[in-house]
Protein backbone atom coordinates (compact mmCIF):
# COMPACT_ATOMS: atom_id res chain seq x y z
CA UNK A 1 0.00 0.00 0.00
CA UNK A 2 1.23 3.48 -0.87
CA UNK A 3 0.06 4.66 2.55
CA UNK A 4 2.91 2.81 4.24
CA UNK A 5 5.55 4.94 2.57
CA UNK A 6 3.89 8.33 2.80
CA UNK A 7 5.70 10.49 5.37
CA UNK A 8 3.71 11.79 8.35
CA UNK A 9 4.24 15.40 7.26
CA UNK A 10 2.63 14.71 3.88
CA UNK A 11 -0.30 12.86 5.47
CA UNK A 12 -0.82 15.81 7.84
CA UNK A 13 -0.75 18.19 4.87
CA UNK A 14 -3.26 16.02 2.96
CA UNK A 15 -5.53 15.86 6.00
CA UNK A 16 -5.45 19.63 6.49
CA UNK A 17 -6.40 19.94 2.80
CA UNK A 18 -9.47 17.76 3.38
CA UNK A 19 -8.34 14.18 2.84
CA UNK A 20 -10.00 12.39 5.78
CA UNK A 21 -8.37 9.06 4.87
CA UNK A 22 -4.98 10.54 5.76
CA UNK A 23 -6.06 10.76 9.41
CA UNK A 24 -7.06 7.09 9.39
CA UNK A 25 -3.58 6.23 8.08
CA UNK A 26 -1.88 8.34 10.75
CA UNK A 27 -3.95 6.71 13.50
CA UNK A 28 -3.32 3.21 12.16
CA UNK A 29 0.41 3.94 11.93
CA UNK A 30 0.85 5.32 15.45
CA UNK A 31 -2.05 3.91 17.52
CA UNK A 32 0.04 1.17 19.20
CA UNK A 33 2.81 3.51 20.25
CA UNK A 34 0.47 6.25 21.52
CA UNK A 35 -1.98 3.89 23.22
CA UNK A 36 0.88 1.84 24.69
CA UNK A 37 2.45 5.01 26.04
CA UNK A 38 -0.84 6.07 27.68
CA UNK A 39 -1.52 2.59 29.04
CA UNK A 40 2.00 2.35 30.50
CA UNK A 41 1.15 5.32 32.71
CA UNK A 42 -2.55 4.70 33.41
CA UNK A 43 -2.75 0.88 33.58
CA UNK A 44 -6.48 0.97 32.87
CA UNK A 45 -7.86 0.11 29.42
CA UNK A 46 -10.98 2.28 29.64
CA UNK A 47 -9.26 5.42 30.90
CA UNK A 48 -6.49 4.89 28.34
CA UNK A 49 -9.13 4.72 25.60
CA UNK A 50 -10.64 7.99 26.88
CA UNK A 51 -7.27 9.73 26.91
CA UNK A 52 -6.43 8.35 23.44
CA UNK A 53 -9.75 9.74 22.17
CA UNK A 54 -9.22 13.16 23.83
CA UNK A 55 -5.71 13.29 22.39
CA UNK A 56 -6.98 12.89 18.84
CA UNK A 57 -9.85 15.32 19.39
CA UNK A 58 -7.18 17.92 20.24
CA UNK A 59 -5.12 16.84 17.25
CA UNK A 60 -8.12 17.19 14.92
CA UNK A 61 -9.12 20.60 16.29
CA UNK A 62 -5.55 21.90 15.97
CA UNK A 63 -5.09 20.56 12.45
CA UNK A 64 -8.50 21.76 11.23
CA UNK A 65 -7.91 25.16 12.82
CA UNK A 66 -4.62 25.39 10.87
CA UNK A 67 -2.72 25.95 14.13
CA UNK A 68 -0.24 23.09 13.58
CA UNK A 69 3.25 24.18 12.64
CA UNK A 70 5.55 21.33 13.63
CA UNK A 71 5.95 19.57 10.33
CA UNK A 72 7.89 16.35 10.46
CA UNK A 73 7.38 15.91 14.20
CA UNK A 74 3.86 14.54 14.23
CA UNK A 75 4.38 11.64 16.65
CA UNK A 76 6.32 13.58 19.35
CA UNK A 77 3.69 16.30 19.11
CA UNK A 78 0.82 13.82 19.63
CA UNK A 79 2.73 12.08 22.43
CA UNK A 80 3.21 15.45 24.09
CA UNK A 81 -0.55 16.09 23.94
CA UNK A 82 -1.30 12.69 25.45
CA UNK A 83 1.38 13.26 28.10
CA UNK A 84 -0.31 16.54 29.10
CA UNK A 85 -3.70 14.81 29.24
CA UNK A 86 -2.22 12.07 31.44
CA UNK A 87 -0.86 14.75 33.80
CA UNK A 88 -4.32 16.40 33.82
CA UNK A 89 -5.91 13.03 34.61
CA UNK A 90 -3.68 12.44 37.64
CA UNK A 91 -4.14 16.03 38.76
CA UNK A 92 -7.90 15.51 38.63
CA UNK A 93 -7.89 12.21 40.46
CA UNK A 94 -5.05 13.40 42.75
CA UNK A 95 -3.19 10.16 42.73
CA UNK A 96 0.15 9.06 41.44
CA UNK A 97 0.45 6.35 38.79
CA UNK A 98 0.57 3.02 40.52
CA UNK A 99 0.33 -0.60 39.47
CA UNK A 100 -2.21 -2.29 41.68
CA UNK A 101 -2.94 -5.97 41.81
CA UNK A 102 -6.55 -6.47 40.66
CA UNK A 103 -8.63 -9.35 39.35
CA UNK A 104 -8.03 -8.42 35.71
CA UNK A 105 -4.51 -7.12 36.12
CA UNK A 106 -1.67 -8.95 37.75
CA UNK A 107 1.68 -7.26 38.24
CA UNK A 108 3.30 -10.55 37.20
CA UNK A 109 1.71 -10.40 33.76
CA UNK A 110 4.10 -7.61 32.84
CA UNK A 111 7.00 -8.72 34.99
CA UNK A 112 7.55 -12.31 34.01
CA UNK A 113 6.90 -15.17 31.68
CA UNK A 114 4.94 -17.81 33.60
CA UNK A 115 6.31 -20.71 31.58
CA UNK A 116 9.82 -20.21 33.01
CA UNK A 117 10.14 -21.60 36.51
CA UNK A 118 13.89 -22.10 37.00
CA UNK A 119 15.34 -20.57 40.12
CA UNK A 120 17.57 -18.08 38.38
CA UNK A 121 14.60 -16.74 36.46
CA UNK A 122 12.65 -16.36 39.70
CA UNK A 123 15.45 -14.39 41.25
CA UNK A 124 15.65 -12.08 38.24
CA UNK A 125 11.89 -11.54 38.47
CA UNK A 126 12.16 -10.76 42.17
CA UNK A 127 14.94 -8.29 41.50
CA UNK A 128 12.85 -6.65 38.79
CA UNK A 129 9.90 -6.41 41.16
CA UNK A 130 12.08 -4.94 43.90
CA UNK A 131 13.60 -2.51 41.45
CA UNK A 132 10.14 -1.42 40.31
CA UNK A 133 9.17 -0.73 43.88
CA UNK A 134 12.35 1.27 44.31
CA UNK A 135 11.61 3.20 41.12
CA UNK A 136 8.18 4.06 42.56
CA UNK A 137 9.97 5.77 45.47
CA UNK A 138 11.65 8.27 43.15
CA UNK A 139 10.36 11.82 42.70
CA UNK A 140 7.84 11.98 39.83
CA UNK A 141 10.02 13.93 37.37
CA UNK A 142 12.98 11.58 37.81
CA UNK A 143 10.81 8.46 37.67
CA UNK A 144 9.21 9.64 34.44
CA UNK A 145 12.56 10.08 32.66
CA UNK A 146 13.93 6.78 34.00
CA UNK A 147 10.86 4.79 32.92
CA UNK A 148 10.82 6.34 29.45
CA UNK A 149 14.55 5.71 28.99
CA UNK A 150 14.96 2.25 30.52
CA UNK A 151 11.54 0.63 30.11
CA UNK A 152 10.23 2.30 26.96
CA UNK A 153 13.59 2.62 25.23
CA UNK A 154 13.10 6.25 24.24
CA UNK A 155 15.98 8.54 23.36
CA UNK A 156 16.69 11.59 25.52
CA UNK A 157 15.64 13.71 22.53
CA UNK A 158 12.21 12.02 22.47
CA UNK A 159 11.92 12.29 26.26
CA UNK A 160 12.72 15.99 26.19
CA UNK A 161 10.14 16.58 23.44
CA UNK A 162 7.41 14.67 25.28
CA UNK A 163 8.05 16.09 28.75
CA UNK A 164 8.73 19.62 27.49
CA UNK A 165 12.14 20.04 29.14
CA UNK A 166 15.59 20.42 27.58
CA UNK A 167 17.75 17.38 26.82
CA UNK A 168 20.19 18.52 29.54
CA UNK A 169 17.40 18.63 32.11
CA UNK A 170 16.25 15.15 31.09
CA UNK A 171 19.86 13.90 31.36
CA UNK A 172 20.16 15.54 34.78
CA UNK A 173 16.93 13.92 35.97
CA UNK A 174 18.18 10.53 34.78
CA UNK A 175 21.45 11.06 36.66
CA UNK A 176 19.68 12.05 39.86
CA UNK A 177 17.23 9.15 39.45
CA UNK A 178 20.15 6.70 39.35
CA UNK A 179 21.92 8.41 42.26
CA UNK A 180 18.73 8.35 44.33
CA UNK A 181 18.13 4.68 43.48
CA UNK A 182 21.66 3.86 44.72
CA UNK A 183 20.99 5.86 47.88
CA UNK A 184 17.75 3.97 48.58
CA UNK A 185 19.50 0.64 47.92
CA UNK A 186 22.38 1.56 50.28
CA UNK A 187 20.05 2.89 52.96
CA UNK A 188 17.94 -0.26 53.10
CA UNK A 189 20.90 -2.57 52.38
CA UNK A 190 19.04 -4.20 49.53
CA UNK A 191 20.91 -6.82 47.52
CA UNK A 192 20.01 -6.71 43.84
CA UNK A 193 21.82 -9.63 42.30
CA UNK A 194 21.47 -13.15 41.01
Amino acid sequence: MADLHTPDALLVKNYVEGNEAALATLIRRHESKIYGFIYSKIADRDISNDIFQDTFIKVIKTLKGNSYNEEGKFLPWVMRISHNLIVDHFRKTKKMPMYRETEEFSIFSIMSDDSLTIEGKMIVDQVELDLKKLVEELPEDQKEVLVMRMYQDMSFKEISEITGVSINTALGRMRYALMNLRKIIDKHQIILTN
Binding site: L23, I60, K64, I110
Partner: protein
Protein backbone atom coordinates in the same frame (compact mmCIF):
# COMPACT_ATOMS: atom_id res chain seq x y z
CA UNK B 1 29.27 -5.96 33.31
CA UNK B 2 26.21 -4.31 34.78
CA UNK B 3 23.07 -6.40 34.61
CA UNK B 4 20.06 -4.90 32.88
CA UNK B 5 16.88 -5.72 34.73
CA UNK B 6 14.51 -3.47 32.85
CA UNK B 7 12.21 -5.28 30.48
CA UNK B 8 10.59 -3.32 27.72
CA UNK B 9 7.24 -4.74 28.68
CA UNK B 10 5.43 -1.66 29.92
CA UNK B 11 4.62 -0.38 26.46
CA UNK B 12 3.57 -3.55 24.70
CA UNK B 13 3.45 -3.38 20.93
CA UNK B 14 0.16 -5.32 20.92
CA UNK B 15 -1.80 -2.69 22.81
CA UNK B 16 -4.32 -0.89 20.66
CA UNK B 17 -7.28 1.37 21.39
CA UNK B 18 -10.79 -0.02 20.96
CA UNK B 19 -12.13 -0.04 17.40
CA UNK B 20 -15.09 2.01 18.60
CA UNK B 21 -12.74 4.73 19.81
CA UNK B 22 -10.92 4.94 16.47
CA UNK B 23 -14.23 4.91 14.63
CA UNK B 24 -15.55 7.72 16.85
CA UNK B 25 -12.43 9.81 16.16
CA UNK B 26 -12.77 9.35 12.40
CA UNK B 27 -16.50 10.22 12.48
CA UNK B 28 -15.80 13.24 14.68
CA UNK B 29 -13.15 14.39 12.23
CA UNK B 30 -15.57 14.11 9.30
CA UNK B 31 -18.28 16.01 11.17
CA UNK B 32 -16.08 18.84 12.45
CA UNK B 33 -15.47 22.05 10.58
CA UNK B 34 -13.42 24.85 12.11
CA UNK B 35 -14.17 28.31 10.77
CA UNK B 36 -11.86 31.20 11.59
CA UNK B 37 -13.39 34.64 11.66
CA UNK B 38 -10.85 37.35 12.39
CA UNK B 39 -9.17 36.25 15.65
CA UNK B 40 -11.88 33.82 16.72
CA UNK B 41 -12.37 30.25 15.61
CA UNK B 42 -15.75 28.52 15.56
CA UNK B 43 -16.26 24.78 15.66
CA UNK B 44 -19.22 23.43 13.71
CA UNK B 45 -20.30 19.81 14.17
CA UNK B 46 -22.46 18.43 11.36
CA UNK B 47 -25.05 15.86 12.39
Amino acid sequence: MAKIYSKKALASKDLKPNKEVVSFILNYSQALTVVKVQEKSFEIIAN
